[in-house]
Subunit: 359 residues, 4 copies
């Protein structure tokens, strides 16, 4: 179960940072949908290294190839396998880490679990694994868009800089206008300065991604274990470097009272109830209520930093380490398509599950 996610829209990813390829098999795509690599590549381009000076300079084009499940430009309903070769593997950069555990990385825990690890590049814990998720989610995005569901994420905070963004109106164009993927230009400028400062200081920064899903019909989700917010939380918290997740009011709900926090209903012009406020974040009792779904994810500062740190070797001897590989001083700009992917994959799955129930 380690490499599978989803019930009806179901993905299986494979690949390490340094190996032949990374990829994904996507099950549950509806048949008869037009699909080609051109539908997938744009989301991979938003995720890939080297897209701006703010991110890691590893040189990967991350060009995707569809291996199966599409015939004459149409999906068959059968599994769609997609592959992205690993090209720029500077394995030598990892030589001095072979016997040393990088702090706050998965080196030690991977060995504790498996007894060995792929020294070069972090293996399966590498952010390259998310290529498969982003590629699969691009298909989910197209399928859901045909039914009016749209997902959009942006960088809402980097370190101390908080963006001012209207979650109801912000657009993809605004998000993509700046390499930070922060649609508040003032904040974006300050974030840029902060990120570049951290890099030159051998340090790194964290932040938050906010993500909305618009057009989700009421009724998606499950009342108990597979609550929509629970599956979203799992999907987001399975992304590298996430430390927290919240939906709607999130942690700010703590200091509100029930009277303040309850989303009172008013009759909607479409014949359905709508809410005056949206502290619920579009989900009540695990099931979507037709309002915009709003979630937020906290990312820690990148663990790989150029500064010297205290650590131990495989033999439990003390040593120090300064990272030499290429890395992101702040993962937030590249984290946006990853969070969107998490949301898209969960929504596609629950959308299919609801089709079985609700004809």
């Amino acid at each position: 179960m380690s490499s599978n996610a989803g019930t009806l829209f179901r993905i299986t990813t494979f690949g390490e940072s340094h190996g032949g390829a990374v990829g994904v098999v996507v099950d549950g795509v509806l048949p008869g949908m037009e699909l080609s690599e051109a539908d997938i590549q744009p989301d991979l381009d938003r995720r890939r290294p080297g897209q701006s000076r703010l991110v890691t300079q590893r040189k990967e084009t991350d060009t995707v190839e569809i291996l199966s499940g599409v015939y004459n430009g149409l999906t068959l309903g059968t599994p769609i396998a997609m592959m992205v070769p690993n090209l720029d593997q500077q394995s030598g950069a990892y030589d001095d880490m072979a016997d040393t555990y990088r702090p706050s990385h998965a080196d030690y825990t991977t060995e504790a679990k498996y007894g060995l690890r792929a020294v070069a590049g972090g293996g399966r814990a590498s952010a390259r694994e998310t290529i498969g998720r982003v590629a699969a989610a691009a298909i989910a995005r197209k399928m859901l868009a045909q039914h009016g569901i749209k997902v959009l994420g942006w960088v809402s905070q980097v370190h101390e800089t908080v963006a001012k963004v209207d979650a109801d109106t912000v657009t993809l164009r605004q998000v993509e206008a700046d390499p930070t993927r922060c649609p508040d230009p003032d904040a974006a400028a300050r974030m840029t300065v902060a990120i570049e400062g951290a890099r030159s200081d051998g340090d790194s920064l964290g932040g938050t991604v906010t993500c909305v899903a618009r057009g989700v019909p009421a009724g998606l989700g499950e009342p108990v274990f597979d609550k929509l917010e629970a599956d979203l939380a799992k999907a987001v918290m399975s992304l590298p470097a996430t430390k927290g997740f919240e939906v709607g009011s999130g942690f700010s709900a703590i200091t509100m009272t029930g009277r303040e926090h309850n989303d009172q209903f008013v009759p909607g012009p479409d014949g359905h109830p709508h809410t005056v406020t949206n502290y619920s974040g579009g989900i009540q009792g695990g099931i979507s209520n037709g309002e915009t779904i709003v979630m937020r994810a906290a990312f820690k500062p990148t663990a790989t930093i150029a500064s010297e740190q205290q650590t131990v070797t495989r033999d439990n001897a003390p040593t120090t380490l300064s990272a030499k590989g290429r890395h992101d001083p702040c993962v937030l700009p590249r984290a946006v398509p990853m969070v969107e992917a998490a949301a898209l994959l969960v929504l596609a799955d629950h959308w299919l599950r609801q089709r079985a129930l609700n004809q």
Copy 2:
């Protein structure tokens, strides 16, 4: 999949708030373990209504009966079914809600999903559903304790009152010393005042539960989708009324730099590396690292309040509603065993999964 959770330690819950019974079937309990209802009841007693004046006064003894899977006092390795009858069903209290959607409840979304709902008591969205999880987790607790793993939760915040608690040393006895389940006596006293004030004001309060898992060996979890923090997030966010989840530093990681946040390693006296700080919260790359696992969950203020609120009927007509049923002015004291249950069920599952890998 709506009523199942877990891969090897796998539970299936059933039951609505008002019906014959609620319960659970637990699969994956190791054979040959001593088990009786006396192992289960204490955790149910911590969860049940009426245990103190701070919680709902619905009168339920929540007495559990084991129906299968135990023979001569020993577990058989086969599914353990447990049942708790519903006794105190004041269905009449819900009569005027039959056609009205309670704000921030699952009434509307349940109907949007299924086309109908059990009007009395919220049906499957009721907190009574968690009886099954708490009962199952009591078995997980016993099984894990035999291998040195202990889980403990407490109320760390109610509304504006933040408790001061040493996560490394706090004990169950300290948590249970006060009906608030806050082990900081000063904070507990202020929480009590706040909760009673909210109740008399027809209002409600939210807060946070912090939960630790001690003695977890390094190696539990998975590197990708089933990261330990991802499964914990899902389990916690599938509890009623949760709005946020964080592990380790959580949202506070945002304003730290990598240099500050990285948990540097030092050689441990047990021959394994240990970390100087624990911002990782005991999990790195989805896999436990042997440090204490620390997580925190945000609970919204109870949606059921006595104050009048604006809402709509099933026919999309405006109306108002004031709750008359018995309810908790603050779910936090009863949420503690629920969060512990979420953590225990996930840890039991991953502990069994690691046994298959690591002999």
Copy 3:
């Protein structure tokens, strides 16, 4: 996974032969369907002991109680838990088997797996476990019947006696007309003599159940692992005492040539292709083709016999054993509702899965 089956129509059974109760939790029942115990009991009555002199005389009424998932006589879409108490437990009959392994039973293998077993009655390996499946399948039967799908099984062979039955026209009334559940009266008479002869001789007999599913629309099933015949095979081969499964031509296909065996298509009056023959048994490439699904299951002679047999004790010492408990000299009459249950549960699951795909 040991106690779960199905993807969308998903059941979890629990209970041993001698314990508080046996039962099942059924997930995936469509909401809004009328349901009461009266829909379940008839199938349980066809399965229960003591229904005729041909079967075991254990005295169980097998009266089912619905614990959840139904409100005001309608299904809620939430899990339906059902329970049947164990009443007639003559545990003493098993005393001399506590340390002795019954030949061709699960006694030894259960201990090899779990390290212990419930001595009385075979524990989880008892045919009483199938109560849960038959009860769940009664719900599937009602749900599928509302969409034109009907499942019917009968005893087609007992030992040397082969029944002559027209699979296209045989009715439930004809099957239920005789305690053997063989709708060929001549064969039924000979089967009765054979079964009673075996019983008085301290011996037992096997045979086959044939089962058809009529009205299954084309398109149910999956092309690879979850082929419809594969899931049917698993469901049937997970019933106690089954040794073989075949679909359509089955083993008789071996001695046919492709020219003989291919089911040629002709235009159907309904605008769909139909087949002249049905050697495919209603399934081609794992997916139903609209023809009647035909399957056959082989049951071994009951392992529990009164004759003395050679065996060993838990300490690997030779001994002998003659069964004293009540038992069936031939399971076939009671196997009919079990095979139907296997087919119904698989069809309900695939029918729901196809709804998600094919709107």
Copy 4:
């Protein structure tokens, strides 16, 4: 779920007959095992077209490439993706089948399910899909062999020719000595004549594969749904062209009495009970008993034949069809590694599951 199988040893296959590639992702391989393509290729060579004049002459080398999960020649414990490109695609051969349903193929049912199909080569229903299973099973074979478990299959019948084979002693070398994969030389000679006769007559033949698993420890399997024979039945019946499955005595159990059929126990020299006979086929109550597991699968005669047959077009108009593509006049020789693969994948999964239980 359509493309996944297994719980802990879990595979996901992808690919159509005519597309970029076929392949598999294998999860659950124990870490630290030496593995390279050289471990996989021999089993693929036993499965591939063109290996002898008895099978289809499609020209595919079926050369496998490992894409992930192996580092420095050792398995990492992470998913192992393997890919085989499709080379010899004579799509033109299928042009006249674009609107015509081949009898006893999956053409019509695939369109009934998905609304469209990959006309060339049968798409996902092609036997090329089994490349992924055979490749995954080669890893299972290596892993299980290190723990003393060996699986071997052979052709035991083609049409009227039944082989005489001692299941206890037959070896891989004997099986591979003849292109028929029948280890009885006399029978193999007659099978060869029969198969070549069928081909020149534009016809095809079916038969049986018998498969044994030796060295399986007692305790593998589950008592209810995931009985070992049930999972084996599903795996075998999910192979193309299978019509029947039996374990141990199989359908021959029908005409035996309990006294004849029961496998009496005798004390084994290893301190464990052993059985005098093996009608159980190595499995009792769903769980292995330490004896050799014996199963048999029936394969229908190949549906693709050169003779003219009656069929219909997509518009439900009558027409005729004579196959022109390359095809096997008898699938049995190539079915042997497929049946072995089915058995290996199930045994690897249950072997891992038992590790979690039984330390």
